[in-house]
């Protein structure tokens, strides 16, 4: 499992892996928002948590269609499916590798981008924390969508149509944590829900994803 994780991380970080692409996308999105809504700092500060969360959602979506597709094309996925390691574990590892290369970096640079959007300094820890806790759920849900569409020729657009509605609860609680952080309110309840969603998806969705991949490999 560790070897698989390391392999995926290595593939993602070396040339053509797309690592950094989602970070760049995140930066571009944050740059474009003020052009769309105007540069007043008050308005930007109120929408900043939401923008950063929606940005994280879209950025994690970018690299999803490659999650299983590349391995499917060169036959690695078949090898992994017949390996002694359960396919559920393979799926979970791939989702974690996806999170380590997209979600975690996003959470780390989010405070920096928050500065661009005039997010008050006190709100930074809550924002980074909500992204760090919430984005693993995004990667796992995305892996489920990628598993459903892995055999399809034009799966990319369908993938976003399937995955984005599933992101709703995570987005609601994640943005709520960030918003409450900006207002200085207590974070406990939405944070607990966000953590519960992340843990629940990590525990259950590998089974659904592995089932979908088995159907697609049949």
């Amino acid at each position: 499992m560790i070897a698989l994780l390391l392999r995926d991380l290595r593939l993602a970080t070396r040339a053509g892996g797309g690592f950094g692409l989602s970070l760049t996308f995140f930066l571009i999105l944050v740059t474009l928002v003020p052009f769309g809504v105007g540069p007043e700092s008050g308005r930007l500060a109120t929408i900043a948590p939401g923008i950063l969360w929606v940005g994280a959602l879209l950025a994690s979506l970018l690299s999803l269609d490659r999650l299983f597709a590349l391995d499917h094309e060169d036959g690695t996925l078949e090898q992994l499916a017949t390996a002694p390691l359960p396919l559920e574990a393979v799926v979970a590892m791939k989702a974690i590798a996806h999170w380590l290369t997209t979600g975690l970096p996003l959470a780390l640079i989010a405070p920096l981008l928050g500065v661009l959007l005039h997010l008050p300094g006190a709100a930074m820890p809550a924002l980074a924390l909500s992204l760090a806790v919430g984005t693993p759920a995004l990667s796992m849900i995305g892996a489920f969508g990628a598993g459903l569409t892995v055999g399809l020729k034009r799966g990319g657009l369908l993938l976003s149509l399937l995955v984005l509605p599933l992101y709703v609860p995570t987005l609601i609680f994640g943005a709520e944590v960030a918003r409450r952080g900006a207002e200085g309110a207590a974070l406990g309840t939405p944070m607990a829900f966000l953590g519960a969603i992340t843990l629940g998806t990590l525990a259950l969705l590998p089974y659904a994803t592995a089932a979908a991949i088995r159907v697609n490999l049949r």
């Binding site: 369908l158 149509l161 509605p165 709703v168 609601i172 609680f173 659904a208 697609n216 049949r218």
Partner: protein, 254 residues
Amino acid sequence: MLWKGPNGPGGTMSIWEYANPKKFMQTSGALLPWAVGLSVVTLTVGLIWGFFFTPDDYKQGSTVKIIYIHVPSALMAINAWGMMLVTSLIWLIRRHHVSVLAAKAAAPIGMVMTLIALITGAIWGQPMWGSWWEWDPRLTSFLILFLFYLGYLSLWSAVENPDAAADLTSVLCIVGSVFAFLSRYAVLFWNQGLHQGASLSLDREEHVADVFAYPLWTSIAGFVLLFVTLVLIGTRTEIRARRMQALLAREKLS
């Protein structure tokens, strides 16, 4: 494809008999005229009763009458998804083709019901709330439900192998149900509601007046019958389409 139903323990009738396409076609063919007739009658009675023979509300005027379409369609939009969940589970567990074809047939109907509920709600909301759309938890959950229907249907049309499509959409339906349920309660957390509470409830705490409730129950019955009729027709069409494919495949072989 040619799945033979078990006769149940000791040869008695069992619900699984209808998983046999031939048996299903026979029974549904006999039921269909009755289902069509009954749904036409109850819908006509319920809607005409509701539209022309109930008083206007003292506050809402005649816009209250939209309830006879809005509430039944919203009810069916949710129940259609519930039916798809049950039939998808039956497909995954017992591999009955009729079951998953019924789920496939129910999806577009449920989607249209969701759309009807959203549109009638908007038409009512414009004079009453002063806006076509509010980000109210109930409205938002319905919009999300609509997106789930869209995703489910597009997955059906995207996968070429019919059995793989059935498996994948069933898995999506189950996972989607969990997330739809989560979203329903997450949006409560996110925004306070403007939408009124339940129009019909058994404990009669908050309730529409009887004069509105009886025609409402009638049109709900009409919508349920309409849904059953449409699902039967849709499932029969799907079974016929499968038979046609089988015939074409056989022709190619010979």
